[in-house]
Symmetry: C2
Subunit: 335 residues, 2 copies
Amino acid sequence: MAETVNIKRLAQELNISIATVSKALNDSHEISLKTKNRVWTLAKELNYTPNPAASNLRSNKTKTVAVVIPCVANNFFSLSIMGIEEIARQYGYHVLIYQTHENIEAEKAFTNSLLNGRVDGILTSVSSSEYNSEYYANLVKKIPLVFFDRVYENLDAVKVTTDDYEIAFQATEHLIECGCTKIAYLFGLENLPAGKARFAGYLDALKSHGLAPSDELVIKYHDDEEFNLQQIKELLGKYKPDALFSSIEEFIIPAYCACRELGLQIPDDVKVLSFSNLSTAKLLSPSLTTISQPAFEIGREAAKCLFKILHNKQLDDEQNIILKSVLTKRESTGC
Amino acid sequence: MAETVNIKRLAQELNISIATVSKALNDSHEISLKTKNRVWTLAKELNYTPNPAASNLRSNKTKTVAVVIPCVANNFFSLSIMGIEEIARQYGYHVLIYQTHENIEAEKAFTNSLLNGRVDGILTSVSSSEYNSEYYANLVKKIPLVFFDRVYENLDAVKVTTDDYEIAFQATEHLIECGCTKIAYLFGLENLPAGKARFAGYLDALKSHGLAPSDELVIKYHDDEEFNLQQIKELLGKYKPDALFSSIEEFIIPAYCACRELGLQIPDDVKVLSFSNLSTAKLLSPSLTTISQPAFEIGREAAKCLFKILHNKQLDDEQNIILKSVLTKRESTGC
DNA sequence: CTGATACGCGAAAACGTTTACGTAATTAAA
DNA sequence: TTTAATTACGTAAACGTTTTCGCGTATCAG
């Protein structure tokens, strides 16, 4: 118990060399089954587990990956992590978590600190505050990295995303079909491809139905609850849109609150629809029409890709994996 | 760039020994300021970062902690992780995540795999499937460990919890004051101190107001959505309680759905109240009266304790830190 | 019977740090 | 002036693995 049990100890007790023990533990073909069994049983008996630091140092493999994301306390990201963790478990990998809080400097600091062999690879969903592709262009040369959801384009790296443009288009059409002609857009992730694609889908849907987009009907997300609420109230009061298309989950609460405070009925006075992974969307008052991304699957898929890369397996075909979101129509768009 | 930059490289370029470089980097008093500055500037210039594996191996410190929890995709736990991560960042620690999915065997396997020097300490919220204190009694002797929320009692370890008994008592009284006399209890975490305390608070509140508890009004959580829904529907149909006290967030959706399917109006026909960290509680239909635990602070507090232990600092006084939950009265208890 | 081949294992180096100890030069105390 | 203490640095061992290389023995084909 007090004695630390390492490979040397096993070797002594079995009267064989530490090289043989090491090889036996790694199931090397150089070792006879008889010897392997002796080693395995003693290892189990003494509860031996290899020292990760020593192993990492020698082999340059850590069996660890890092997940760098804006925030854990977010339905999308916590589901993604869950997916990542599930796959990591299957592959016997460990998972480190880093939160950037949308701060690109923190993001760089974290990823830089991971380049010295702390992890074998990185899974990341980048922060929305800035779009600095130079940094990542260099980074992807130095370490296996997979982007998910919030990605940098045109880089030599795998990206797992969703059909943002198409689903936003489809959702906008849904609002139009419900009779809306003045659809406001609550703009999030404006610096990122995902945010731009969602907005483009919205705009194109408007155009294809002969509706003119208007800057007045677009407001942008700020990291300030009160500010967002006021923005939406002003939007609703001043320009009287008949629908709110929220491109990120963070707008849901202020949107609902704004309507309540102004005495606007959802969906009669204004219809509401949002990108969201909220499990209680159907319990809201009224229940909320959502575009939900397959967060769990995104995490799984991203992790699978990373492990394929780490094991030098051929990636099936493309570097761009695109999963489908689903539009769930509920009372808030009422039709 | 191709050349890996390590301590040896720095030593060569500066024409000093690697020992001197190492000491300089660690700001040892043995090294002159002049030499330190030479080392520091070159280190920065070459973007040197120490190899963690080598450092861990030699020093037996990993600057890493593990968080072992049932599930990431849960409002309480994701907030806790956020708190933990924040403190870990301040102390320069890394955070590993492990999900047990309420499986005690997985839990043991994970924690065992952490005993070989992979981490300096563990933060855990144990699984509810079983209460096996022998295992943890041994574990806490082997590695610094802090429990949060879901704890093992009577062990020599720090525990960060909330005032489960008191807040459950208070919440039950609230229902009674709203005129309820037949309060059903949706029982979760029954094997754990937290679950037992909540239930005890409920029972004692009933008794102190002259209400008789009834087994018929208590149902237990199962890991099966449909089953829970049916259970609640049966409870509502058969025994006509005038309130549902849900001791865990997972009962909210089935409780609301059951009421809707049976045509029962909340709060007129039945009042509902739940432990929950749901951010959208106020947007539900009707808005939900909640007991919310300070999840973020719990994470912060637990992490702080662990780091104090790791730095051999005296823990202020007690091993039991108890934070206050808050009862937020909303429409679902309507009074 | 000889040479080649495979098998099973051990010796030792290597991974990049940290640290106990030694040493020379300088400074302070006696 | 001698001795002790301090300063600034170097040597080398150690942490626990993995892996290359080599060696002896057994097996087998010719």
